[in-house]
């Protein structure tokens, strides 16, 4: 009864609070949260329905799906606690074990160590072992308490692949310590002995089945811990999952006064003990203090977090969400995880609930739902810079110390929650939080997936630029001692400072990861020498400045800064006068040296100057070498990002002007538009290989004449009239411009409704253009034909093809190109990424299925909807992420809808979504449309994916991308990019090997002549028209002949094979008069009757292919076993 009342009250309070919050947050919410907020998640739907109008909207939009997914997530990631009762048994057993360990008498360090050694246990001394002559003693006494703490105790643990981890805090009795033990590691020495004694006690008991190992808590050498895992056999039944029990050491909260362990105090005093005045000047030992303090506060934090979850019932769920989010991004409590894990997350939320902002409002309300809490916490982390603006909750003491790391100081307990974070890991956390906050306000993408499901800890995908530095070379050459975690931390922060200063605004984020420590056996000394490990470094770049060649430093007049700049850069710094008259300290880099980009060389220079030559030499620029491998050619200075394609705009503009100026045409010209060229797959490579630039499509120009009633009302006549116009324009162009040559190119002479011809114009400077006439009336004429014709009418089919052709050439095509070129100036890495993707597609023989435009749109998605990342800053990252996206994209049930314009056009987006649903309704088997790719400029979604890729090809596309994505994720920094481009020929039924020499001879014979000379002298036999790709023609024809029964795969650019798969469904069919393939007659006995059927004549077909290809085909190999 009382319970029920309390529930009701809570409900009412929640409602009240909800309303109040609504008022407080409305502006903010509307601005940033959009519709994504889910009010009061724990209510059922019916309650919402009865509520006032504003909750309707939250259900009406996407958020209800989001909420359902969130609930499902919470359900699946958490262990089912009531099924875990056996864990309690295990824990009880362990506790009993520990409690039965007999006390030791106090003894000196040496005595204690020897005693343990005799029992085959190595005491895990922190960092440096204590000197043997110290006066104090070590001993063991029965723990004052043993408690389960951590996420398992708080019921916010995650189910993970490695099984469940349970934290057990063993509180050391205060009697072991003296008041001054907080100084000079004394506490930690005693603690280490205490731990060794426990290890000894457990391992020597025969009735305890635990496997024991030492490890470092949070990678910190100060805090060794024991990890107990249950031994192989288990007596608890077959369903037991693995449990790892971490035995943490805790101390009484009042063991040492909090003030002594304030982050600003020094607790490690070297040399003689001296007066207190000097003490103040010694550097504070924040990490040491906080480590000690955190051990004393284990229980307090458990209580604190528990009471928080009592006050706010969504708190545990918010913690779980946070843990998932952190884990997917590779963050963790340990130093190698960046020092921000689920404990820190929970504490941050709990503290934020107590804090108020400048206006006196609390930052987090207790009435928030778990998702709101999650989001608000992320927002806090993203927007508040805790380094320059430390947050102090209930300040007990004033903050008076500048520190390097971020500070979130819990005044009530006297500890900086973020003490383990370095500047670099804090930067990474903020960056991730910012990206997620941005993501959650972008309603066009699947927020849930990118926020919680995607694994984002692969450095090559997360960062624009990655490298590895062997930590060994960062230390002074003389020392030969093993490198400890603290040494490594110091080195990496030194490295951070150097790179941070040197890179200045080239990089937005510089993340240097700490190497992780390993567990070690209790019977051996700790072995965590890190000197041979590599530190991975990830950069997020400001793409537009990252590869600049001139670094403009401080003004020469600013003496202080200039001196500093010179000190950092040494002789590289020089004074330069700029256009505006100002004189700056400047660095200038040559654009290209070997295969090293400016960025790589400037970093090598910094390291050589400030560390050592060896350091500069041994740094591994992973992105750099990947770029080289992907583009497989000498990279140019900017090719890591490769600026937008080289558009011969002066020529184009000139021609456009000339066309505009033509006078004596039957109709006036309304508009002349140049369509931007498609981004080609590294043009220089092709021209090197084939000496053939002819294969690139000439620039398209569309001419639109003034509307006139004289245009015929018949589609065929319109096409003829367009040809007439083209001829007229060509004639006049040739007459007015010297050196210009034109020739008419027929386009489609099977479909009379489609554009019949284009005029190819080449100017004296050897650039070529394609002129077409765009007549707007065409569309309505085609639509009329479509509406009239019956389904079986061949005219209807032709009209449909004509319509899609018209849209591609005159409407969507130019719009797509324009959007692409404006976006590629916004994202410098875009065009290079598109190039890499096209190369990948071609190498995997998908040229004919995945159109250029589709590749461009898929790559664009990586940039305009970067999801949980920021837009990529280099080609490699853009390429990898696009592959990852394709591998994840479930095109069967999800459309891809892009927002290419700047303003959000909800209407178009909605229209595209409806189109997708309509497609799936009328064509559920996806025979006509497999991938739906729409955008706000093209809601139809089928312009570039109509019929191609077919379902089979799309599935192959996805599976190839999945294989590539797996490779990228598994290999991480060791990835060899060449592997991504190796086609798997064994998958195909037969392989047609082509004679490429013939093809390149054909095209290079064009190269030797000036363009279109052949047209003036047609009689010459040897002349071949421009753009002659015999292989492409052959492939086209193969497809039109056998496309129904064979799936062909080839690389249109320079593949030497055409591969084929027999369509398994069409292998054997019943008899039909008409056939599209050579067949073999068969008689099948079925149900006592002979049924006439035919089977594909495979040899006959291959023989036909061999005849068709003639001298172009070297050989046909059959790979399949049949």
């Amino acid at each position: 009864m009382a319970n029920k009342m309390a529930n009701e009250m809570a409900n009412e309070m929640a409602t009240h609070q909800h309303k109040r919050r609504k008022l407080a947050l409305t502006q903010q919410e509307q601005a940033t949260l959009g519709g994504a907020i889910v009010p009061r998640l724990d209510r059922s739907f019916d309650v919402d329905i009865q509520n006032s109008g504003d909750t309707y909207d939250s259900i009406a939009n996407n958020s209800s799906i989001f909420k359902l997914k969130l609930d499902h997530l919470l359900e699946t990631v958490q262990p089912v606690y009531h099924k875990l009762s056996h864990i309690d048994d295990t824990l009880r057993e362990l506790k009993r074990c520990i409690e039965n360990i007999p006390d030791h008498e106090p003894m000196t360090i040496t005595e204690g160590e020897n005693l343990m050694k005799a029992r085959n246990i190595y005491v895990p001394w922190p960092e440096q072992r204590p000197s043997r002559d110290v006066a104090y003693t070590v001993s063991y006494r029965r723990p004052s308490s043993i408690f389960v703490i951590g996420s398992y105790a708080r019921r916010s643990a995650l189910r993970s692949r490695n099984g469940l981890t349970v934290d057990l805090a063993i509180t050391m009795p205060s009697k072991l310590f003296q008041p001054k033990d907080y100084l000079n590691h004394r506490y930690f020495y005693k603690r280490a002995y205490f731990l060794a004694a426990i290890a000894d006690g457990i391992s020597n008991r025969t009735d305890c089945h635990f496997h024991l190992e030492f490890s470092y808590q949070s990678d910190s050498p100060l805090q060794p811990i024991l990890i107990a895992s249950t031994k192989g056999e288990d007596s608890y039944g077959p369903h037991r999952s693995d449990i790892r029990i971490r035995l943490l050491i805790a101390a009484d909260a009042n063991l040492f006064p909090a003030a002594k362990l304030h982050p600003a105090k020094n607790c490690i005093r070297t040399g003689k003990l001296s007066g207190s005045r000097e003490n103040v000047l010694k550097p504070p030992t924040a990490f040491y203090n906080a480590s000690l303090r955190s051990e004393c506060l284990s229980m307090s934090y458990l209580k604190f977090l528990h009471s928080t979850s009592m006050n706010a019932d969504t708190f545990p769920a918010a913690c779980v969400l946070g843990s998932v989010w952190l884990q997917q991004r590779g963050f963790g409590s340990s130093l190698s995880g960046g020092g921000f894990g689920s404990f820190e997350w929970a504490c941050t939320i709990a503290l934020l609930m107590q804090m108020t902002d400048q206006n006196g409002r609390s930052i987090l309300s207790k009435g928030y739902s778990h998702y709101q809490t999650f989001k608000a916490t992320l927002r806090y982390l993203a927007h508040r810079d805790l380094v320059s603006d430390p947050a102090i909750v209930k300040p007990g003491a004033q903050w008076f110390q500048e520190t390097a790391g971020p500070i979130l100081f819990d005044g009530a307990r006297g500890m900086n929650i973020l003490f383990k974070m370095s500047q670099s890991s804090y930067g990474a956390l903020r960056c991730a939080a910012k990206a997620t906050v941005n993501l959650l306000s972008d309603s066009t993408v699947d927020q849930f997936e990118s926020c919680f499901i995607m694994k984002l800890d692969v450095p090559t995908c997360c960062y624009d630029y990655t490298m590895e530095i062997p930590i060994g070379v960062c230390k002074e050459a003389s020392s030969n001692t093993p490198m400890s975690v603290f040494d490594a931390a110091e080195r990496s922060s030194h490295l951070y400072r150097i790179l941070h200063e040197g890179l200045s605004d080239r990089a937005r984020l510089l993340n240097i990861r700490q190497p992780a420590t390993r567990t070690w056996s209790i019977n051996s000394p700790a072995n965590n020498d890190l000197s041979s490990s590599y530190i991975p470094v990830g950069l997020l770049l400001n793409a537009d400045v990252a590869f600049r060649t001139i670094d403009k430093g401080p003004l020469a007049d600013d003496k202080e800064k200039a001196a500093r700049f010179r000190a950092f850069w040494g002789e590289k710094a020089e004074l330069r006068r700029f256009n505006d008259g100002s004189i700056h300290e400047t660095l200038s880099w040559t654009p290209q040296e070997g295969d090293q980009s400016v960025l790589a060389r400037s970093m090598r220079y910094m390291l050589e100057k400030h560390l050592s030559k060896e350091a500069a030499r041994s740094i591994r620029m992973i992105s750099e070498s990947q770029t080289t491998m992907i583009s497989s050619e000498q990279i140019t200075s900017s090719s890591v990002v490769l600026s937008s394609s080289s558009r011969p705009s002066p020529d184009l503009d000139d021609l456009l002007q000339r066309i505009q100026n033509l006078e004596s045409l039957p109709l006036n010209i309304h508009q002349v538009t140049g369509v931007d060229p498609p981004i080609s797959e590294s043009p220089s490579r092709r021209s090197l290989k084939h000496g053939n630039s002819a294969q690139t499509e000439p620039l398209a120009i569309n001419i639109q004449f003034e509307g006139s009633s004289r245009w015929p009302q018949d589609l065929v006549a319109v096409q003829k009239a367009k040809v007439a116009f083209l001829l007229k324009v060509a004639e006049q162009l040739e007459a007015t411009t010297a050196g210009l040559s034109t020739s008419l190119r027929l386009e489609d002479n099977t479909n009379l409704f489609s554009n019949a011809a284009a005029m190819v114009v080449s100017n004296p400077a050897d650039s070529t253009f394609q002129l077409r006439v765009h007549h707007e009336g065409e569309e309505s004429l085609v639509l009329e034909k479509l509406a009239r014709g019956s389904k079986s009418d061949p005219e209807r089919g032709m009209a449909a093809a004509a319509l899609s052709n018209y849209k591609q050439k005159f409407v969507q095509g130019p719009m797509h190109r324009q959007a692409l070129s404006s976006l590629s100036s916004r994202f410098p890495a875009l065009s290079a990424s598109v190039g890499a993707m096209k190369k990948w597609r071609d190498r995997h023989l998908l040229s004919n299925y995945v159109s250029n435009e589709l590749i461009e749109l898929l790559t664009l998605r990586t940039f305009v909807h970067p999801g949980p990342f920021d837009p990529p800053g280099t080609m490699v990252t853009g390429f990898f992420r696009t592959l990852l996206f394709i591998s994840r994209w479930d095109w069967r049930s999800e459309p891809l809808i892009l927002q290419l314009r700047t303003g959000l056009d909800k209407h178009a987006m909605q229209a595209a979504k409806q189109r997708f649903e309509a497609w799936r309704n009328i064509d559920p088997a996806m025979n006509k449309l497999a991938m739906f790719v729409g955008s706000d400029i093209d809601p139809s979604g089928a312009t570039w994916t109509d019929k191609k890729p077919s379902k089979v090809a799309a599935a192959r596309f996805t599976s190839l991308a999945t294989a590539a994505a797996n490779l990228i994720q598994e290999q991480g920094l060791g990835l060899c990019c060449d592997d991504l481009f190796k086609p798997a020929l064994a998958d195909y039924d037969f392989i047609i090997r082509l004679d490429l020499d013939l093809n390149s001879r054909a095209s290079s014979s064009v190269q030797n002549q000036t363009a279109f000379k052949n047209l003036q002298s047609r009689s010459h036999e040897a002349a071949h028209p421009q753009g002659c790709n015999l292989i492409a023609s052959l492939a086209d024809e193969l497809e039109s002949l056998y496309g129904n029964r064979i799936v062909f795969f080839y690389d249109i650019m320079d593949g030497d094979v055409i591969c084929g798969l027999w369509n398994p469904i069409a292998a054997s069919t019943s008899w039909k008069v008409k056939s599209d393939m050579p067949t073999i007659p068969r008689t099948v006995h079925k149900d006592g009757q002979d049924i006439d059927s035919v089977e594909i004549n495979r040899n006959g077909t291959l023989a036909e292919i061999a005849r068709l290809g003639g001298d172009l085909i070297k050989s046909i190999e059959i790979t399949s076993s049949q």
């Binding site: 739907f45 006549a717 002479n749 019949a756 071949h1024 028209p1025 024809e1037 085909i1113």
Partner: protein, 312 residues
């Protein structure tokens, strides 16, 4: 791979005619191709049907020459017995012949002169519709059927008999034997020629376009005149046909549409005039929301089934 012995002698009434395909260096396998042959029985009976054979599953590179040689010399019959070969998706030559033939078949005496004039530009139009061919040799991709017309019925029957006998022969007729040099070659030469043909002479195209446009204009003109006449003259029952091309026709239509839109808008304003209307609307909206919520739930469930469980 398949010996002809596995293959039945007939399928669905068609006699099977095995051909041996010469092997090529690029594909050194001697393959067998099967033609299916039967007496021609068109849906619409034609006078020549009785002396014709119907062929299906013809090779992609079949030409008239191929089949003529095959059905005379290669079958061991005297040459010149095959009169004509007609492929599916007939060649243009036949196309242009037929309408003329039908025109000859039923001459209408009174309007003959006029009709023939009309047909003149129709024919002009027809012939100028297509631009010059871009391939030097057509391939049989569509249906792969053909009709072979023999000079008389008996040669047709002899041919059919000879085909039946082929089964027992050791050496099957070789497809395209001795024809290599008589036809435009396939392979690179074909595609080079294609690229050449893609760039036709501009003057020829201009001629073609002019011819078409003139014929088109003539037809338009004639149609306009016809419509104009129809608008003025009552027909036998005294009605005047209303057709396109009247003076104010289009404008009137637009005005009517605009009026309809206006009317619609007017009605719109009254939808929540009564209280019950708005109440009903709310109810509808709530129902809609609930429906959508259920849909979403279903969607998530499906997603869950598809994806399986998440492990972090």
């Amino acid at each position: 791979m398949d010996t002809p012995e596995d293959v039945p002698a007939q399928i669905a009434g068609y006699t099977i005619f095995p051909l041996s395909i010469p092997s090529l260096p690029s594909f050194p396998v001697s393959a067998v191709h099967y033609l299916y042959v039967a007496p021609h029985q068109p849906k619409v009976p034609s006078p020549t049907a009785s002396r014709s054979l119907f062929l299906t599953n013809t090779p992609f590179d079949s030409t008239e020459l191929h089949l003529k040689i095959l059905f005379s010399t290669q079958l061991g019959l005297p040459s010149g017995r095959v009169e004509d070969v007609e492929f599916e998706g007939r060649s243009r030559r036949n196309d242009s012949v037929e309408p003329a033939a039908s025109h000859d078949a039923n001459p209408t005496s009174s309007k003959k002169r006029k009709r023939s004039k009309e047909l003149d530009y129709e024919r002009e139009l027809e012939s100028a519709t297509t631009l010059p061919a871009v391939w030097d040799r057509e391939l049989r991709s569509n249906g792969r059927t053909a009709v072979i017309r023999f000079v008389d019925r008996s040669s047709m029957e002899t041919a059919l008999k000879a085909i039946k006998a082929v089964r027992k022969r050791r050496h099957k007729p070789i497809w395209g034997e001795g024809l290599q040099d008589k036809l435009p070659p396939l392979g690179s030469a074909r595609y080079l020629k294609h690229h050449e043909l893609l760039f036709p002479d501009k003057s020829k195209i201009l001629e073609n376009v002019n011819k078409y446009m003139t014929a088109y204009a003539a037809r338009e003109d004639a149609q306009k005149k016809l419509h104009a006449r129809q608008r003025q003259e009552p027909d036998e029952e005294g009605f005047i046909t209303v057709g396109r091309g009247g003076k104010s026709n289009a404008a009137r239509q637009e005005a009517a549409q605009a009026l309809a839109v206006k009317q619609k808008e007017k009605q719109k304003g009254l939808e929540d005039f009564y209280r019950f209307q708005s109440r009903e609307k709310n109810k509808q909206r709530a129902g809609e929301l609930k429906r959508r919520f259920d849909e979403d739930r279903e969607k998530v469930r499906q997603m869950r089934d598809r994806r399986g469980k998440l492990m972090v």
